[in-house]
């Protein structure tokens, strides 16, 4: 296990370097002069030169990258050109909202997918299985922003059970915090449920045909015990990998869902930064989200190895 982790760590380091370089290059190789964009077209050449010097844009690309990377490793992503607030500060300010939204939606998706997947594998081909598959087919075709608007329309505007927009920090009022996050999280969870469900159901059906399941039945164990204690773990490898990969989908989902429900998360900040062409903020968000994404995938690989000893070799 140790050598497996070491190998993975080495790979992780390489991937992180590539991702950091790509985030940096994305903003530095594209056409357009940041200093000019900042000052507007009427800027005098002297003013442009001054801003370029302030931003270090007159240095060679490699120096700029090393400088940026050094700052990035120390948690310094520069300042927003527009608000002058340090980028890291803005990100740390918004990150908890997005992380809470992601955890809630992923948890909710698994909370729905595991029981439905297990049940439908156990009763494969039955009415309830057919119903679940049909629902999955429909949800798979419903983009997350359509689900979000539909949920908002039904539960916030018509039934008035939950608030439609706004946010309350968890520390201020946990109940209202969850009320504000319930619909956004549900929208993302419903969009993710079909693939999680389908994968678990498929793997579970295969597991249930194994001899040791027949043995467990022959010993007289109850179906719930067999399903959850004997069959669930060996059936959940693909599920774990997929739920890790789906973090990417959650990022895309968070972008729109935060915008729709007015949640002050990193996704809404990033969309705002794109509108305002606040390049430092965009670059910072992209770097932080990508690194997070790579780290999550690394974590998923480790969990996978823990679940299935065969992977380690």
């Amino acid at each position: 296990m140790t050598s497996y982790v070491l190998r993975k760590l080495l790979r992780l380091g390489l991937v992180l370097l590539v991702v950091a370089a790509a985030s940096f290059l994305l903003m530095n190789l594209l056409p357009g002069d940041v200093a000019l964009a900042l000052l507007g077209n009427e800027a005098t050449p002297e003013a442009v030169a001054q801003v370029r010097a302030e931003l270090g844009l007159d240095q060679p690309l490699l120096m700029r990258y090393l400088h940026w990377l050094g700052g990035f490793l120390c948690g310094d992503l520069g300042r927003s050109y527009i608000t002058q607030v340090p980028v890291m500060e803005s990100i740390l300010d918004r990150l908890p909202v997005t992380i809470e939204l992601m955890l809630l939606s992923q948890g909710l998706a698994l909370l729905i997918a595991v029981p439905t997947g297990v049940l439908c594998a156990y009763k494969a081909g039955s009415r309830i299985d057919q119903l679940a598959n049909a629902v999955g087919l429909f949800l798979l075709a419903a983009p997350v922003f359509i689900l979000a608007i539909l949920l908002m329309f039904l539960f916030a505007l018509k039934l008035r059970w939950l608030p439609s927009t706004g946010y309350v920090p968890f520390m201020t009022d946990p109940v209202r915090n969850l009320a504000h996050l319930a619909l956004p999280a549900l929208a993302i969870a419903l969009a993710e449920w079909p693939s999680l469900f389908a994968v678990l159901r498929g793997d579970m059906i295969k597991t249930l045909q194994q001899d040791y399941i027949a043995l467990a039945k022959a010993k007289g164990l109850g179906p719930a015990f067999i399903l959850f204690r004997h069959a669930l773990r060996p059936s959940s490898f693909t599920l774990v990998t997929l739920s890790g990969l789906q973090i990417a989908a959650t990022i895309a989902g968070a972008l729109v869902v935060e915008t729709i429900f007015g949640l002050p998360g990193i996704g809404r900040m990033l969309t705002g930064a794109v509108y305002n062409r606040d390049m430092m903020l965009v670059q910072g968000c992209v770097a932080v989200i990508s690194v997070g994404y790579v780290l999550i995938n690394f974590g998923v690989d480790l969990i996978y190895a823990l679940l299935d000893p065969r992977v380690r070799q």
Partner: protein, 295 residues
Amino acid sequence: MNALADDPGHETASPVGATIPMRVRDRLGLRFWLPAAWITMVVVLAATASLLPLPSPIETDFTALSNWPDRAHWFGTDQLGRDILSRAIFGARISLTVGLLAPALGLGIGMLLGMTAGYFRGRVEIVIGAAMDAVMAFPGILVVLAVTAYVGASVPLLVILLGVLTVPTFMRVARANTLVFAQHDFVLAARAMGATHWRVLSLELLPNVMIPILIYALLVVSRIIVVEGVLSFLGLSLPAPWPTWGNMIADGQVELATLPYIPFIPAALMFLTVLSINLIGERLRARTDLRGSVL
């Protein structure tokens, strides 16, 4: 299968052609034809939009603000008095253009890389695989956001970016299928007869690799339509006032409580289109799987 492949006359088409007579009576059914009819209708309407007797999709009409659907405006009008039916049909153009061109681009590049990797193996495969891993290490939507932030939103840019982002998955499907088919006797036979690598790749392998890739491409098309929807919902596709399904939903969302038909009509159209493509893809995939089991 081997018997057929050993016969040089059948070699190019054998794995595909061999089973067609067995399945020719297999009906595709309503679950295929209904979605196919819907897609055909959307494509035809979108293609002929400027010839149809539709009101302008961008001209505002202050005498008909926020009209619920009626006989004059089948889908109603939006807050600026623009006819929603007309906007929906013109908006379909963007969804379909991006949804078809981006995967086509990705398919072209991905298939080239995947077949090269799967056929030549060795160092070529390692280099291509590593490049694809690097692309996939990034959450794609972020790349699109970051680049559009810099150079501004436009449809050609969207096609190129989304196209490039689909390359790795197409490459994987192409590689996996090339690996399988390259093992077959008909490839060996062609090589033994002195066929060049190019000939083997283009005449022996391509027709076989193409089918699973095209079916997979349907899935990618529906996914890209959704992604385009998300991006235009965020205002990062075609600039206003031109309609896309995504920006129609975004504009309509403001009046969700009082005028729900404005966002829900384009939302329903997008849902039905994506659902139809998925259903068609699923039906075709089931067929090719059957073919596998017959073999």
